[in-house]
Amino acid sequence: MVEVKQSLFTEKKILVVGDPVLGLIGVAAGADALIYRNNCEELVSELKKSIQNYNVLIYFRNIEDDCKNFRDYVPSLKEMVLTIPLDHPKEAGRIEVAEYYKSLVKKYLGISIEF
């Protein structure tokens, strides 16, 4: 199931699509999140329904690798919102995973977090 996490903020501008960790962080920062769990078709159908509510889409690039429907939809998404693809921590090389998530949050969502 695609999990839509609702934030406490009323203005919905940023949508985060990724693993549960990125989703939780996104929601904590006031964004909405869709969690990708190998549910390719469902994710794309959810995006098609809701993308018009957002200005920015932050997603893990590995979803494009895995999900042809999402890959094919990315050009349309780029016309509708600002898209920010991120490398998943496991492919970002030798990194400290927690620090990596922190840096993403700081850079794209503008908040500091502690694990």
Partner: protein
Amino acid sequence: MNRAKAFSQSVEYVTLENALSMLQYSDIVNAFSSMAEKPWAGKVLKRVTTGRYTLIDVQRDIDDFFIEKIVELAEETKNEEARNCLNSMISLSELINIVVVLHNLSVGRKPATIFPTPLARKIPLVSPEEFDIHAFRRNVDKVFTGLVDRFIKNKKLSMREIALALHKPVEKIDKVSNYRVWRLIGIYHDAIAVRLCRMFPDLLKEPLYPLIMEDKIFREACNSDLIELSKTSSGYRRIVLELFDALTDSLTILKGIEAFDLATVLTTMSLSKTLVGGEVEEKVKRLVHLMGSSVILKLIVLSVYTNTYRVELQRLLSKWLK
């Protein structure tokens, strides 16, 4: 890359729009006339408007154009990692061509090539008796000379040499430094390996190392009926299932191993959309587009020339080229 260069390169490719437009025509002259401004249309257009021609002539003209572009791409690429990646993909394609040429010679058939590679344009369409195997050996890349030498000596293909030749092109490809390119080359390597073990079941007795496919599905892909294989829709990595999905669609217009070849090309073209940044990704993406454009254009020509599978091809391209 500046915009002018990006534009000049993009017109080298066959886009979905081009393909669908060409498929609306009932003859090759009109189909290519509608694309007269495209660089890839020029040579074919000259041939088909100035005299008699065969389907093979047109297909060779198409190959010639794209092979020249592939050679240019390889020559202009100075970045070592990008060169390694290009050479890897070109060598894997070249391996299929070499094996098919040698196999055809061993069974008394004319040499033929499958993929657009630099070697492909140096292979004359002559009878097996007229084929100069020593000239052929001089033209092949040095990583394949062992394979050709063994063939010259034993008059048959060595499975051990094929297995070795499959491994060599991917030796220098590093998973960590460019994951997405590694993934694309990995599935291409595995598909080429499957293609070869379907041609020669004895190849499975040799040590083969698929990069992406789990061993179970790799062996199944080598042994199963292609129609059954194409129905595999779960239980394996998505990238592998994508290849089988492409196979399902390819089987609507082609039969047997040709459908598998097309599925391989469609899968790499689709995966190339994930390549967006840096010189390595950019060069590999360009190579995949050049190779794919050649294959797709030849299919369009076949469809228009024979007036067959037009609707099926439109459907397939709409799904895989978008």
